[in-house]
Symmetry: C2
Subunit: 396 residues, 2 copies
């Protein structure tokens, strides 16, 4: 047994989160793509079968009240809240991340007022956020500037209405400075909208603590909600009565069953809802969130950093020198929960890794992404992945 | 056996759609609320279990390609197409009806051009459409007028960009004149957006035949897709290259995995997609649509009219005179697939009906709604519902 193999076994044995792995349906694969689609939590199939057979099939329409369907968006939002450092009553679940970016950015522009005619967007953002922010700027007559998070902090000024920033960069895995950028935006009188897709469930976010105004995130990565599971929207309590949604559907009406022709928004985060909630996907997510029972986000973060450190150490030992370079910051303060390695022929390399049971993903033009999901990724997984990568790159 | 009981039995025996009932999970209840939430199709639980266990749990990320997840919105759109009289390639599934109304109305306003500064909306619409159209008008600087469908046809003029009209009114069950109103809008140079929530799956729509520009609909009523199942958007082929979405998410990009910072829309109806599709709900819908195999919409319409006629005949016979009045047009050309009865204390009456196993719903202030879903509603159901209503209103 090599030193690293032994070390991996020891670290797994000492891992305080090791029992969380049993809450998932896993097989022999080394699954390092949980930052794209989280693994299946074991509680989901049974719950979903109950939702389908009993709640839909037997209770049918009565389930809107009797099975708690109607209030699911805010109930599940409150379940996500502690994972992102939010007190209850500030998150609703529903729609896609893209649609929630639109709601958040347009609402923020409206809160900022007419005289603030500029919108900033993280230039390294996952593209959909950029497209949607561009649409929000176009529809509200604002100018859009794409800047790095550092530039956003430096250049926000009296014309800035809002900036949309990613907490963790989807490609490099870089962790951006949420407290610092938010403070800089606030100092300029602007609002901060954070995209938490690649951070929530992997590291502490601290939305309330850092005074974030609005935030969005998906639930199918580190939150394991299932393919295309509904996204969520955080609206800070103090801003809820000024949240003027561009998508004022009947679910955000103060009296949704009053069927009033005039729109009067509900109080609270419910104002961020739009149409009828997508119940099957939403209740699968609710079951999936049970894997977080008794888990502290700080413990997740500690294991995440240990895993990515260990993986980088294994890559240095197992991969012939010069064949890969890490895009992921070495500094813990700047690292999310993935490692991105630049490598020649990355698309082909990833296909070969997958065929050997190491599942990561490829991002154009030359990036291998490996996501580390502390609830179910082991140190032995990290070592195996590095060893197989070394084999592939050495032509073994 | 009374005459009507006998007649109901005879008509069920002669019903060419009677075997379709076996495609659903039903119990002893008389379920006349399929116009709110369709019953559970028998194919759904097994399909969803496979999606969860095998596609998500085992194949995980590979399912985006190997299980056809990525292309589900347009594939399932093509499955809905024949039910609404559309050729393939014009419908995408995803998001809620409200979000699709926003996409359709904003896109139509943009197609109509700057000089058309007025938007019309069906004054009797289900409220969410009105709220969303108001937001679309506000965000594009247009004036909104709420009119009846007849007024829309009469008053559309050179300032009119688009009108949103409901094919069947959610409250009264009235069928609006889709061909006539669409033709009047076109004669004025305006576009027609139809909301098909209460018609698709219950009667012929003829989107292509009547030259409808854009249409939206939900899938959880007569299409039985499950609670909050994703909605759909129809974009007429000839307009697709001019469809400029206010929600240009990465799923509508010509090269979604290219991760380009600039938005370049895909060709075709795919342009109506936004974010990551909600796979669990979407594939449950796909299984649900199998109940339509071999079913003609004309046969559904014939049975629907026969059922609502028969129900009205039974109500006349079983309910003491003067206690209810029908809001639903007697003329077949103006009738959808529900019967709305006005009645004193309607909320309490419906609660009592439900406690006796007849499931309809109540709409403010005084309306009892009974939906007739020809694939699984029998003539005996219609008779039983009228008999029990008579009992309740007579204090029996």
């Amino acid at each position: 047994m090599s030193d690293l193999t032994l070390k991996a076994v020891e670290r797994d044995a000492a891992d305080p989160l090791r029992s969380a792995r049993e809450r998932f349906v896993l097989d022999g694969a080394v699954y390092l793509d949980g930052n794209s689609l989280g693994a299946l939590p074991a509680a989901v199939p049974g719950r979903l079968a109950d939702v389908v057979h009993r709640q839909w099939g037997e209770l049918r329409i009565r389930s809107w009240s009797e099975s708690g369907w109607w209030t699911a968006p805010e109930r599940i939002g409150d379940r996500i809240a502690p994972l992102v450092g939010a007190a209850p009553g500030q998150i609703v679940v529903g729609d896609s991340t893209s649609v929630n970016v639109f709601k958040a950015v347009v609402a923020a522009i409206r809160m900022a007022g007419e005289e603030r005619d500029e919108v900033l967007c993280d230039v390294t953002t996952f593209p959909t956020d950029g497209y949607i922010v561009e649409s929000a700027a176009r529809m509200t007559g604002r100018t859009l500037r794409a800047l790095t998070p550092e530039q956003i902090a430096a250049e926000a000024g009296p014309r800035t209405a809002v900036a949309l920033v990613n907490h963790v960069d989807y490609k490099s895995g870089r962790l951006n400075d949420l407290p610092g950028v938010t403070a800089a935006l606030h100092a300029a009188g602007a609002l901060a909208v954070w995209d938490l897709c690649h951070s929530a469930g992997a590291l502490p976010v601290g939305l309330d603590e850092h005074g974030v105004d609005l935030a969005v995130g998906c639930t199918y990565k580190y939150l394991n909600g299932g393919p295309g599971a509904p996204a969520y929207l955080y609206i800070r309590s103090a801003l809820q009565d000024r949240f003027d949604s561009p998508l004022p559907g009947w679910n955000s009406h103060v009296e949704p069953f009053g069927m009033r022709p005039e729109f009067t928004p509900a109080d609270g985060a419910v104002r961020g809802r739009v149409g009828t909630p997508d119940i099957l996907s939403m209740l699968a997510l609710e079951a999936a969130l049970e894997v977080w029972d008794g888990v502290s986000v700080d413990a997740v973060r500690a294991k995440s950093l240990a895993l990515t450190d260990f993986f980088l150490q294994c890559v240095a030992a197992e991969v012939p020198a010069g064949l890969v370079s890490s895009l992921t910051p070495a500094d813990h303060a700047e690292r999310g929960s993935q490692v991105a390695l630049r490598c020649a022929d990355a698309g082909k390399v990833m296909a070969e890794l997958i065929s050997r049971g190491v599942i990561g993903d490829f991002r154009e033009p030359d990036v291998l992404r490996f996501g580390f999901t502390p609830l179910y990724t082991s140190f032995q997984d990290a070592h195996t992945a590095a060893r197989v990568l070394g084999d592939v790159l050495a032509g073994r």
